[in-house]
C-alpha cells in the first residue's frame, strides 16, 4: 500500500490542487500498482455511468409501453368519431326528409305538432343534433363566440429522453372551451 493511493479518485475527478495533482502524477509514473487501481476506478466509474443511462432508458421504455394502449385507444376513438361524422354527413339528408314527412303524417299530436311543425320543425331538428353531441360541433362554428386555446407541447418535454423515437412526431389538437372542458381531440402525424 502506498500513500498516494488515497488520492487517486480525487485525482481522477480533478478535485486536487495543482500541487497535490503534480505529486500524484509523479507517483503514478513510478507505481504500476496504482496505475492498475486507477484503471479499475476509471472502468467502474464508466460502468456506473452506463448503468445510470440504462436505468433511465429502461424506465422510459416502460413509460412508453404504459402509454401505447392509451394513445392507441385515443387514435381509435378519434377515427371512430371521424367515421361517425362522415356517416352522419352522408346519411343526414335522407334521414331528415322522412322525419319531416313522418311528423306531418300522424294525427295523434296534431295540435302540438302543427303549431311548431309548419315551418320551424326542421330548424328544431338541427338544433338538437348540435346540442346532444357537442363534441361534433365544428370548431369554426363555435369559435366566434367561445375562446379557443392553442397549446404547443414539444415531444421532448412530454416524454423522457429516448421515449420518443427520433424523427417521429404527432400533433394533438385540443379545442378547449372557456369552462375548461375539451371540445375536440384530434391526433395527426
Amino acid at each position: 500500500m502506498c500513500d498516494a493511493q488515497v488520492k487517486l479518485i480525487a485525482w481522477l475527478d480533478r478535485e486536487l490542487s495543482p500541487e497535490e495533482a503534480a505529486e500524484v502524477d509523479r507517483h503514478l509514473r513510478g507505481c504500476q500498482e496504482c496505475r492498475g487501481r486507477l484503471t479499475s476506478y476509471k472502468q467502474v466509474s464508466e460502468t456506473f455511468d452506463a448503468y445510470c443511462d440504462m436505468t433511465v432508458a429502461t424506465k422510459a421504455r416502460r413509460l412508453v409501453s404504459h402509454w401505447v394502449p392509451v394513445l392507441a385507444s385515443a387514435v381509435v376513438a378519434a377515427i371512430a368519431m371521424i367515421l361517425v361524422l362522415q356517416l352522419r354527413r352522408v346519411g343526414s339528408p335522407p334521414v331528415l326528409t322522412p322525419t319531416v314527412a313522418v311528423t306531418s303524417v300522424p294525427a295523434i299530436s296534431v295540435p302540438v305538432l302543427k303549431s311548431d311543425a309548419a315551418e320551424p320543425a326542421p330548424r328544431k331538428m338541427i338544433r338538437r343534433r348540435h346540442a346532444v353531441p357537442p363534441v361534433r360541433e365544428r370548431g369554426v362554428k363555435w369559435q366566434p363566440t367561445e375562446t379557443a386555446v392553442q397549446i404547443a407541447i414539444p415531444a421532448e418535454a412530454m416524454f423522457p429522453p429516448g421515449a420518443m423515437p427520433e424523427g417521429m412526431n404527432f400533433i394533438a389538437e385540443l379545442s378547449i372551451a372557456p369552462d375548461g372542458s375539451v371540445q375536440q381531440v384530434r391526433l395527426r402525424q
Binding site: F48, Y51, T58, L63
Partner: protein, 179 residues
Amino acid sequence: MSDDSVPLALPLLRLAAGSSEVTTLYRELRKPLLRYLVCLGLSSDEAQDVVQDAFLSLQRHLASEGERENIRAWLFRVAHNQARNRQTSYHRRFSEPLDGEMDFVADDATPEQRVLEKEKFRRLAAAVRLLTESERECLLLRAGGLRYREIGEVLGMAVSTVGDTVERAIKKLAEKCNV
C-alpha cells in the same frame, strides 16, 4: 387526457416566456436532472414533474433577485429535496432490480458480448445495493457531472466528506465488480 395535458403545458409556456437564462439552463440541465431523479428511484413521470417544479422554483428565485451563483447545485438541491418528499417512491430507490428487462448492450453486439456485458451490469447492480444512501447519492451526482463542492451543497455535506464518501463508494464497487 385534458386533465393531464393542461397543467403540464402551462408551466412550459411560462418557462418559454421567461428569461433566456432559465431557458438555457432548462436545455442544459433538464436531462441530467431527469437522470439523477430516475436513478434515485422516481418513475419517469414523477421525475418530469419534479424537474418542472424545480425550474418553476428557479424562475421565481431569479425573479425575486435570489442568489445567482451555483445555480446548478441549487437546482439539484431543490429537485433532490422534492424527491425526498415523495417518500413512497423514493424508497423504491436505485437498487430496484431492473436486470430482467434491461437492454444491456447495443443491438449490434455479439451474443458473447451480450452475456459478458449483462454479467458486468448484474454484478454492478448487486454492488450498488450494498452502498449506503449517501454513497449512492454522491455517486449519482458525480455521474451527473457535479463537482465535490456542488455535491456538498446538494446533500448538505462538507467537501472533504464528499471526497471521502465518493472514494469509499468507488472502492467498494471496484472490489465487488473486479473490473
